[in-house]
Symmetry: C2
Subunit: 240 residues, 2 copies
């Protein structure tokens, strides 16, 4: 199982991967490859000789196949009672019927059920770019609408909730929303993404004015729609 010395003890990384499709905000949730219907956020540990940013990138690449991915560290989860004990015991009871006690004697069990501090990252992807890969512990994974996610293990529901909160808080200062869209997008698509994320409507003219005043978009050609006069402009994020 896990070798203590390779990873930093008692510290993990939990990732929330958001995507946007058909006017729905979605989240990528793996199902763990054990009996018992366990769903968990993409997670991992930090190698002793690895920057935490690189660990997060590695964990995200493992699931999405994407090397360059927009991510933000958003919160550390550090309650004293933050342990995998209950989850691990349930998992073991449903998977190792004959040798439960043996499994619990494994040094990996003690390591894994210790108290963990978890660093939360959220990532924003254009769903069409993702080349999903199963990690060693995934049975499958799926994009879920944000309000239709399956029940998650441990405190992962709280991690997901806090990621969504951070996504909203960051939206006007970090211009993160554009990373949910294709490379070229219309102003309508930006507004759709905002309206979905905030679950409310914005007045079109004010919205457009606000977005353009951020001065981070570059206006491109018109989008070909067949009706030349009404074709909307395409935009993309200015390169830095």
């Amino acid at each position: 199982m896990l070798e203590n010395s390779k990873f930093i003890n008692q510290v993990s990384i939990d990732c929330v991967i958001f995507g946007f499709e058909e006017n729905e905000l979605k989240v990528l949730i793996p199902k763990i490859n054990f009996s018992g219907d366990f769903y968990a956020l993409p997670s991992g540990f930090i190698y002793q000789e690895e920057d935490i940013e690189n660990a997060a990138k590695r964990i995200l690449e493992e699931r999405t196949g994407l090397k360059e991915i927009y991510m933000e560290q958003f919160k550390v989860f550090g309650k004293a009672n933050r342990k995998r004990q209950e989850f691990m015991d349930e998992l073991i009871s449903k998977n190792y019927i004959d040798n439960i006690e043996e499994v619990k004697k494994n040094p990996g069990y003690a390591w894994f059920t210790n108290r963990f501090i978890s660093i939360g990252y959220y990532a924003l992807v254009n769903i069409k770019d993702v080349k999903p890969r199963l990690s060693a512990i995934d049975q499958s994974f799926q994009w879920y609408n944000i309000d239709q996610a399956p029940e998650l293990i441990m405190d992962h529901p709280e991690v997901l909730k806090e990621a969504l909160k951070a996504l909203r808080e960051d939206i006007d200062t970090k211009f993160n929303v554009f990373h949910l869209l294709p490379e070229k997008f219309t102003m309508r698509e930006v507004q759709d993404a905002y309206e979905t994320i905030f679950e409310k409507e914005f007045v079109r003219t004010n919205f457009q004015k606000k977005i353009l005043s951020m001065d981070v978009l570059e206006r491109l050609e018109k989008k070909f729609t067949g009706a030349k006069n009404k074709a909307p402009y395409l935009y993309r994020l200015k390169s830095e």
Copy 2:
């Protein structure tokens, strides 16, 4: 020295304590009680049975005497090369002239010079409320103007810089600025604090409109200044 088992290994907390006085943004910086003029942000470790929030509160109370303190977790510092090795070796060379090698054999030395992940918190205080206390490793401490802080050890200059960035980013969403002021304050005092933090001036009428539109302040009596007609109103943060 340090007992491994009591604290979480390889994780520390670094705090940046901001105050505001005479239109200057200030930061509280302790000088370490060893020869060599070492300045370090208030820091500490997390007990195995302690929430990280409580660890941060404990570390902040230790320095300020304040039990209730406004704080925000702002960033995790987690480079693989984030170690105290150089600092410790310099400290030891200036303080343990006769028995350097003995000191290095102490198990605490290995623990302390390991790679550490540090969770950054910034705190906002009203300087007049602080009842400064020296911790076990402080020789003294002092409030410095933000741009006149002494040279800090390790990556603490970066921690300070990121804390200031977070303070600015949070200002309009978390209403944190009010925690730098006395319980009752004038709109002019709020504007002074904003102008100091952002190092720029705001137009008075627009500024006032913006602050009042946040809808978090309660208007109180006028401040007695001797000139009744021109006395400004006092405000305070609404209780939640």
